[in-house]
């Protein structure tokens, strides 16, 4: 099922179709499908967790069972909860160095370019999630010296339980939504970051995730705490092999941005086109803090993801930049939420989406200015680009104002690539396909320029590949 692209090693770089291979399914073979108290207890026991976490998981499972499926949003009826493996252990213990990793896992990462990135010291640390558990993890010495913690979440729970007792589930409680409950019940892996007061992490912290077992859910849990006056940029990139039946990815990301701290969280999501990507991401920004989500959705069958920021302290700032791309059979239901709870808070949302080949993109947002949040401001801009007659673009913003001293604006435009634009570029000697790609690149440029260079290049390349065949 998987060898097509292994036979084409000339394809390098990152892309949805290039990553349509998988290693022989060793770890997943014995994992059970379906969900029960036993499965949850088993996960907790294998991880040797404290009892309170087990109780938290079991309680979340009850909530998951009780909560209805969302009555809005994408069609999720293709998810078969009984046919998913909720926990897969890929190696018995964490590898402490690159050499210790199994050969097939190393091969996977070499394709992803991780060792190179390490060698070039482009990344501050790499947490590679392979089949539900972090198997390779290295923190650069200078980070350790600064007191920065960058660990996989399982290890962090063992080594630094105090953070979890204080913060776990405080930003996104188990009962927040059905999929947050599911994640809380069966979570495994993910990243934990703690940045001490005043520390600026100069280079981005980076993590790659991969789904590798057919029908395997991936339920990573990420917790980031930026202490007062600190700064960190965390980058999450996702790729997944293509399988013949549907996969579920349901992560929870909680971020606490303390007084005057700043966190930027960048994701380029490129799951294979059979994955249901249902993710809850939320940050709280305290006094004077800044939170920024940079969110790219390229892959998956269905994505429902609305990164939120609760602006809890005076002068807190929030920003979300998102770009979504939907090709044939894809539905990107992405968006953003800004909840203003304190005076003098400001937020900004910029969303760009492109649908082609019958794909569907949507912006779904919520902006709320609470009664206490006087002198707050918010701007939302949504732009959609339509390149053919069979694709679909939706905009569902919701704006709720409960105080008078505010300024708030939402604007959306939907435009199509016009014959004139294409004709003009072609008259300058540019091939039609390249002309289309140029127009699309220009359209997403305001977001691409906010990405680290290698991500911007990757995004451009992905878009270019996805646009193939969309003209002529």
């Amino acid at each position: 099922m998987s060898d097509v692209l292994i036979e084409r090693p000339e394809l390098d770089g990152l892309g949805q179709y290039e990553f349509g291979w998988s290693d022989p399914d060793v770890a997943g073979a014995s994992a059970r499908r379906g969900l029960s108290n036993e499965v949850v207890e088993d996960i907790s026991r294998l991880k040797d967790e404290p009892d309170w976490m087990l109780q938290r998981r079991l309680n979340a499972l009850k909530i998951f069972d009780r909560k209805p499926m969302p009555t809005w949003g994408a069609d999720l009826s293709g998810i078969d909860f009984d046919n998913i493996k909720y926990f897969v252990r890929s190696t018995e213990k964490q590898a402490s160095s690159w050499e210790e990793l199994p050969e097939e896992i190393k091969n996977t990462y070499e394709r992803l370019g991780i060792p190179e990135a390490e060698r070039q010291r482009l990344v501050a640390g790499v947490a590679a999630q392979y089949e539900s558990e972090v198997v390779y993890h290295q923190i650069r010495e200078d980070l350790e010296e600064q007191g920065v913690l960058f660990l996989d979440t399982d290890t962090a729970l063992k080594e630094h339980p105090e953070f979890f007792e204080e913060y776990f589930g405080t930003v996104i409680p188990s009962g927040d939504n059905k999929f947050a409950a599911l994640n809380t019940a069966v979570w495994s892996g993910g990243s934990f970051v703690y940045v001490p007061p005043g520390v600026h992490v100069e280079i981005p912290l980076q993590a790659y995730f991969r789904i590798n077992t057919e029908n395997m859910g991936q339920f990573e849990r990420t917790l980031i705490i930026a202490d007062e006056g600190s700064y960190v940029h965390y980058i999450e990139g996702c790729t997944a092999p293509i399988y013949k039946s549907d996969s579920l990815h349901s992560a929870v990301v909680e971020i606490i941005v303390k007084k005057n701290a700043r966190v930027r969280y960048t994701t380029i999501q490129n799951w294979s086109s059979n994955v249901y990507n249902l993710v809850t991401k939320r940050a709280v920004a305290h006094e004077g803090a800044t939170m920024e989500w940079v969110d790219g959705n390229i892959g998956s069958k269905v994505t429902m993801k609305y990164p939120s920021i609760f602006l809890m302290g005076e002068h807190a700032k929030g920003e979300t930049l998102s770009v979504a791309f939907a090709g044939p059979g894809q539905h990107q239901d992405a968006g953003a939420k800004m909840i203003h709870m304190a005076p003098y808070t400001s937020s900004n949302i910029l969303s760009k989406s492109i649908a082609r080949g019958g794909g569907r993109t949507g912006y779904r947002g919520e902006v709320r200015i609470d009664a206490k949040a006087h002198h707050s401001a918010n701007t939302v801009n949504c732009d959609a680009l339509l390149v053919d007659t069979i694709s679909r673009s939706d905009t569902y913003p919701a704006i709720d104002i409960r105080v008078d001293d505010v300024q708030l604006g939402h604007e959306a435009t939907v435009s199509r690539v016009s014959e004139e634009q294409l004709f003009y570029l072609q008259s300058r000697g540019i091939e039609e396909a390249e002309a289309m790609a140029m127009i699309v690149r220009g359209f997403i440029e305001p977001i691409a320029r906010e990405l680290p260079m290698e991500y911007a290049l990757e995004l451009n390349k992905l878009i270019e590949m996805s646009m193939e065949g969309s003209v002529g």
Partner: protein
């Protein structure tokens, strides 16, 4: 779609549950909502539904589920050339041509009305027809109105609502080919009144409907206009103006359905809120179907917040199923009045109170001035002057 579909019953996580909503595929397109004229075919309203979660359903429960008096009621109007008015029975062929209820309160009105009021415009010279409804009283009522503009006819129809009311109603507006119809619905109810209305408009080939909603008075007023641009070249302009005072809930859910080539729509709603508990809800859905290449669409909602203790919801939704469009967009702003304008006026020697009054009035009169009926515009200006003066801070 006629009803939400159920998937894989009994599957873990999808099990049936008394909360409802299990295993349902959410409605993906605005035009695919469940419709029925029968009250009992619609699910009970809990107040948690997308459709109702911003509405104080407990205050209007009798209109959603109660028994309604569907008999004819007192109306006043002058006789106008080219316009006929008559009461018609439930089985009249004119009923059910423009739309079918999408929610339970609208269906309750449809199930309960006994007589419908038919207003038929046939004159090709512009005419003006005013219908007064001022004596509905506090009896819970169902009403049904059918406004038909015959091919190539022209008219302005004003529905003027005053006094007390407990009213759930449906208004069908059929604009036949080449007709040019303006419908103004003015809600100037007493504070005790509750009024739920669904306006269904079907706009024919090269026809134009201008639908103007003005809600200034009433305890709970929810008027939801929809315009189905059903034939080539249909044009819909939906304008609205609302001013919510303390304790008032004014809601409007607009739906424009582009369903034929080269159709055009403009939606522009402006609102002001003043006083503790003043509440407005504006939802604007625009669907550009695959059947509507060449669509030109824009909608906007602007809210002016004049005091603390208010809440304004603004939800402009846009669904686009074809790339062959001329243009589509929407905008929504909510804020306090423009300090720059205020500063400018003050710098020209206008006292602050007067400057505020001018800024607020200027904001609201933009809609009034598009009505195209001098007498009505003058009356509305006077009403708005009074509202602004009463708002104290203006």
């Amino acid at each position: 779609m006629t009803a939400p579909t159920t998937t894989a019953p009994g599957q873990h996580g999808f099990k049936e549950h008394s909360d409802g909503g299990w295993g349902l595929v959410p409605v993906q397109t605005r035009s695919e909502r469940f419709t029925s004229t029968q009250h009992d075919q619609h699910p009970p309203v809990t107040g948690r539904e997308q459709e109702w979660k911003l509405t104080p359903v407990d205050r209007i429960r009798e209109l959603i589920d109660g028994e309604l008096d569907g008999a004819d009621y007192p109306i006043e109007h002058a006789s106008v050339d080219g316009v006929t008015v008559e009461w018609i029975g439930r089985d009249d062929a004119r009923i059910g041509r423009a739309g079918i209820p999408e929610e339970r309160a609208s269906a309750n009105a449809w199930t309960n009305f006994a007589k419908a009021l038919a207003i038929t415009v046939s004159g090709e010279e512009p005419s003006r027809f005013k219908l007064d409804r001022s004596q509905l009283g506090d009896t819970p009522r169902a009403a049904h109105t059918v406004i038909t503009a015959k091919p190539n006819s022209q008219a302005l129809v004003l529905l003027q609502n005053t006094g007390d009311a407990r009213l759930s109603e449906n208004v069908e507006i059929v604009v036949e080919d080449g007709a040019n119809l303006t419908v103004v619905t003015l809600q100037e109810w007493d504070d005790s009144a509750h009024h739920l209305a669904s306006h269904f408009a079907r706009i024919g080939r090269d026809a134009t409907l201008r639908h103007i909603q003005v809600s200034l008075g009433g305890g709970v007023v929810r008027v939801n206009p929809s315009a189905h641009l059903a034939e080539q070249g249909a044009n819909g302009e939906l304008l609205g103006l609302y001013f919510a005072d303390a304790g008032q809930h004014l809601e409007q859910r607009v739906f424009v359905h582009h369903d034929a080539p080269n159709t055009r729509s403009r939606v522009n709603y402006k609102g002001a809120l003043n006083g503790e508990g003043a509440r407005t809800v504006w939802v604007g859905d625009v669907l550009i179907a695959r059947s509507a290449p060449g669509t030109d669409s824009y909608e906007q909602n602007r809210n002016l917040v004049l005091s603390d203790g208010t809440r304004a919801d603004s939800i402009p939704n846009l669904e686009i199923e074809t790339g062959q469009i001329e243009g589509a967009g929407h905008a929504s702003t909510t804020g306090r009045f423009d300090d720059e304008q205020l500063f400018y006026l003050q710098s020209r020697g206008v006292p602050e109170d007067e400057a505020r009054r001018l800024v607020v009035l200027g904001f609201l009169l933009e809609i009034v001035q598009q009505i195209g009926d001098a007498e009505l515009e003058e009356r509305l200006e006077a009403l708005l002057e009074a509202e602004v003066a009463a708002s104290g801070r203006a």
